[in-house]
């Protein structure tokens, strides 16, 4: 991100997001779609913390997304927790899991790392699937819904009002994204980029590589779990599909489609992907082919993503 241009983009994005529920309707969308885009954008940006900025591919992030979702859902259903504590619990559960699993796999790289993340993702999928009594199994966790938040001086009715919930999600999105931006601008963030660019040199410079990758993995999973918790709140429902590898794949394509190397890239990618899927699946039952085609076209012709292309065009 270079100085002024980066900030201008951020301001533009901020304004667009602030008014999304209003211009969304005009182009054939609806508020819930906007909220969904925000949630997926947060998830894709969190993944990109690891993928685009640290240079490590995880194809199993859906596991932590799902843990965040289940954590929040179970907190509300079984403990009667409020919305914010529920999100916190989802975050806690997923981050703990990420810390443990991250420790196990951090010595692998490349293809092997990716395969291992896929496999661990499936472990959680099966856990959610089989542990019927706790997670509701294939039927998912149902019979609960997000409750209005009481701030003492005012109540935010995030259950009754779609718009209220959108702004609630936007607020959480803003905080999370801000935190990630700060981390990336810090010396820690710079080190991650160094590792991405040339791991061996970074190692020679004395950087503890495994620790940095582990920490980047944990941070990435932490924010993805926030997105997962928000997703559960959005649907008033969660089920094992939130943990499956298709979601992991979709998150990666969102990051790549928008542009892995830029901060806001995954947001653009998420917006395009979610809106495209919603639009296409309403018009044809063969939407899977279209989505698959998007994957293929992006890899073959737009590996740098939308923002990457724009950046190249600006330079040329």
């Amino acid at each position: 991100m270079n100085g002024l241009r980066g900030h201008r983009l951020s301001v533009a994005v901020g304004i667009l997001l602030l008014f999304m529920p209003f211009w969304m309707g005009a182009i054939g969308g609806y508020t819930e779609l906007a909220t969904r885009i925000l949630v997926m954008a947060l998830a894709a940006m969190s993944l990109n913390f690891l993928l685009g900025f640290t240079g490590v591919l995880s194809f199993g992030h859906a596991a932590y997304f799902g843990l965040g979702a289940y954590g929040a859902a179970m907190a509300i259903k079984y403990l009667g927790a409020g919305t914010l504590p529920a999100i916190a619990l989802g975050m806690l559960v997923a981050t703990l899991a990420a810390m443990i699993i991250g420790g196990l796999i951090v010595r692998r790289r490349g293809v092997y790392f990716a395969m291992v993340t896929i496999a661990f993702g499936q472990v959680f999928y099966f856990l959610a699937f089989r542990w019927n009594s706790l997670t509701g199994g294939d039927d998912g966790l149902t019979g609960w819904h997000r409750a209005p938040i009481d701030f003492g001086f005012a109540t935010l009715d995030i259950f009754g009002s779609d718009k209220a919930f959108y702004y609630f999600v936007l607020a959480i999105f803003g905080v999370s994204v801000g935190a990630m931006a700060l981390l990336l601008a810090s010396p820690f963030g710079r080190t991650l980029v160094a590792i991405r660019e040339n791991e061996r040199r970074a190692r020679f410079l004395g950087v503890p590589i495994e620790f940095h990758i582990w920490l980047s993995f944990v941070i990435s999973c932490l924010f993805v779990s926030v997105a997962g918790a928000l997703y559960a709140l959005l649907n008033n429902f969660t089920d094992p599909r939130a943990l499956r590898f298709d979601l992991s794949g979709n998150l990666v394509i969102m990051a790549v489609l928008g542009g892995m190397r830029s901060f806001w890239g995954p947001l653009i990618g998420a917006a395009i992907f979610v809106a495209l899927q919603d639009f296409v699946s309403s018009r044809t039952e063969n939407w899977m082919s279209v989505i698959g085609l998007v994957f293929v076209l992006v890899v073959r012709f737009f590996p740098r993503g939308v923002l990457g292309m724009l950046r190249n065009a600006a330079k040329a």
């Binding site: 609806y30 819930e32 149902t142 089920d239 599909r241 309403s282 044809t284 039952e285």
Partner: protein, 420 residues
Amino acid sequence: MTQANSRAGMDRRGIITSGLVLAAAQIASPFVIRARAADAVRIGLDNPLTGTYAANGKHELEGCQLALDEINAKGGILERPAELVVEDSTSGDAGAAVQKARKLIESDKVDFLLGNVNSALALAMAQVSNEKGVLHIVPGGHTDAITGSSCHWNVFRVCNTTQMEANAVAGALIKEYGKKFYYITPDYAFGHTLETGLIKAAGALGGEKVGGDLVPLASVDFSSYLIKAQAANPDVIIFLTQGDDMLNALKQAVQFGLQNKVHLAGAQQEMEPLEGLPSEARIGTWVMEWYWNQPGVPHVADFVEAIKKRTGRVPTARHWFGYVSTWTCAHAANTAKSLKAAEMAKSLQDFHLPPEVALGPNPAFYRAGQNQLIASLFVGDAQAGGSAPDDLFKVTKVVNGADVAGTVEESGCKMIWPTT
């Protein structure tokens, strides 16, 4: 730009264009599912068109489309044309199902919501329809909770509850085969409730569970369970699995020759898995919720002909579910003379379907206080082919739903009506 670059650019552009054209062709293909008219009454169908339940969803859609055409031929709903807006809920992604339900209600402003084949998705969608106060008909989602512990005033269901199915078939199983049952149960809510229901119904007649296994959904290989089942020496092995799981389990059981040692049977069965089985595996005693070959019952043959003309095949229970659901919408509106959900829901209490929709020997009505359709159940034996190559089921007994439905209290449904 150098020449090399511009050449590469041409190729790339060419390929991208063809890719986009391909994609556009897909979108404009015969599968266009959206077309609008200004003052139409809209029925939103949020059902699987992809994934494991795609076949069931497709058949329900075809039933809906037939009903829609008939409704419009008869003047529409409240003198206005009726329209079907179709969305793919996917077979298991509740997020997608809920999103589509919201889209149908908020963006497309549907007056009715239909769906889902997957019970879990049906429940999730019911929460949305209840929140928004839209009349919701569940054609083929079986979990008891939909018209039981999680019932809502605005949610109606066409297909049977698992308890009803269990009650209908238990007697036939005990009478034909004996009392010792081994259960192969799919490990999700539907499977659990079906097993509980059957154990209870069989138990009342002296049946005994000698063993059982909870089998993971989408299991590929049933041989371990079949080995255990055979070792337990039951009179019958009860297959409660559905869809592809039913197919795989039966196929493998017959390959083992188990049908020569033990009887194979179960509860719910559908045409779709039977059609996917090789002919030697089309055996066993089951209960179906609707069957096309009903000699002597008026209007059924017309329905069968109409579906055959549209789709080239005989209707399955799924076609009937879709057909009934859509006609229910029309009748609800026309009876209540309004499109207000609460008024329509009230008009459906104890509403009897006309015979050309009920398509069965017994009356079909939505039970008041539970919103559950009570109709007929068809107990019989699968066969490789009867009077016709697609006559895969020989009905031995038609059960009146009213006899096996239990009471509203037993279902656990406590309906709360909106105050306004």
